[in-house]
Symmetry: C2
Subunit: 179 residues, 2 copies
DNA sequence: CACGATACGGAACCATGTTCCGTTTTGCAA
DNA sequence: TTGCAAAACGGAACATGGTTCCGTATCGTG
């Protein structure tokens, strides 16, 4: 169990940086080869550090997902907290080219992404949703999973389309939740 | 301008049938090679009849899209007509594996699909939406394009996922439209 | 029946994710 | 300092999927 070699650590960081840049430039669907080239490494190195493209995506956005999971919602009533949290989630998805699209579960590739997001954020959403339901602010028959999937789906293709405002539609959906 | 050869006509029909079967079996993402094999023709023949995979998809579902565009909504008030029409649209999308996913505009491949759906259905939706807005049943600041995109997105990945009910979420969205 | 137009089949091409393995680099230890 | 085994690397090669190309087969008219 020796420490990792310095070149390995260096390359992993270079890959994270390169991937982040590539995702901004070309969306999360940026080819692995492009990312490897940006980082100045071979594709084999990418796969040694991140077994799958999805794992790389997860690694790049992990801290932002954490931030979303740990958002400060103090001082808000149950409904406002839910609405605010969903806003944060939507902002996150909409600003990452194609992330929402990659998160849908029917794309076999990105299963890891889908899983990670759900593992990390579902408990948070469940708590907020239950609290709002308990407060009588919203109907009680909607599950957090369903809501998150719906919100995620609404964010698909929100960039590059002036005629489509994901935030507004999510607002409509959340409004539909009210009792 | 001679008539088309009989083999050409026969193959086109065989392709439509094969594609329909393949889409039911494996979703709209069924490989072109599979469809060609089912139809007993070579891939070249597929592309001669349908320049692109998306064109084949459009051809297969064209009559169902027509049916949706010409749905009988007589005897319903403005809001009910809108709700009913959206139900029909959702039913259509949800029953076709992956169709909703393929319809999203950020997938360069299926641009033709996206375009066709919009060309054919947007006018219908616009009329229903305007009528409902004029009747004061719903808010007046939502565009048909936005609504259709939202509904389409909500239908993505609705199959194979017992925990996700697209119809219900669309219902929530439409409820959020009410004034 | 001949022949030109039409249509066909499928090998070949390009792009992408992923795997494999011979080569290089690193770091511990003698 | 130097030797060497483990760790890591690079990129060719494989799998899959859309699409193109062109030599060949078929149709239908004269």
């Amino acid at each position: 169990m020796t420490a990792r070699r310095v070149d390995a650590r260096r390359n992993e960081q270079a890959l994270l940086d390169a991937a982040a840049a590539a995702f901004v430039a070309s969306g999360v669907e940026a080819p692995v080869r492009d990312i490897a080239a940006r980082a100045g490494v071979g594709v084999g190195t990418v796969y040694r550090h991140f077994p799958t493209r999805a794992d790389l995506v997860v690694a790049v956005y992990r801290h932002q997902v954490e931030a979303c999971a740990e958002a400060d919602l103090t001082g808000l009533d149950a409904y406002a907290a839910l609405a605010r949290w969903i806003d944060l989630f939507v902002d996150f998805l909409v600003t990452k080219h194609g992330l929402a699209g990659a998160m849908r579960p029917d794309s076999a590739d990105f299963a890891a992404l889908h899983t990670y997001f759900l593992d990390r954020l579902l408990p948070v959403c469940t708590r907020l949703l239950d609290a709002a339901a308990a407060a009588g602010a919203i109907r009680a028959d909607v599950q957090a999973y369903e809501l998150m999937r719906g919100v995620g789906n609404l964010c698909i293709g929100a960039e590059h389309d002036p005629g489509y405002d994901a935030r507004r539609l999510v607002g409509l959906l959340v409004a539909g939740l009210r009792r």
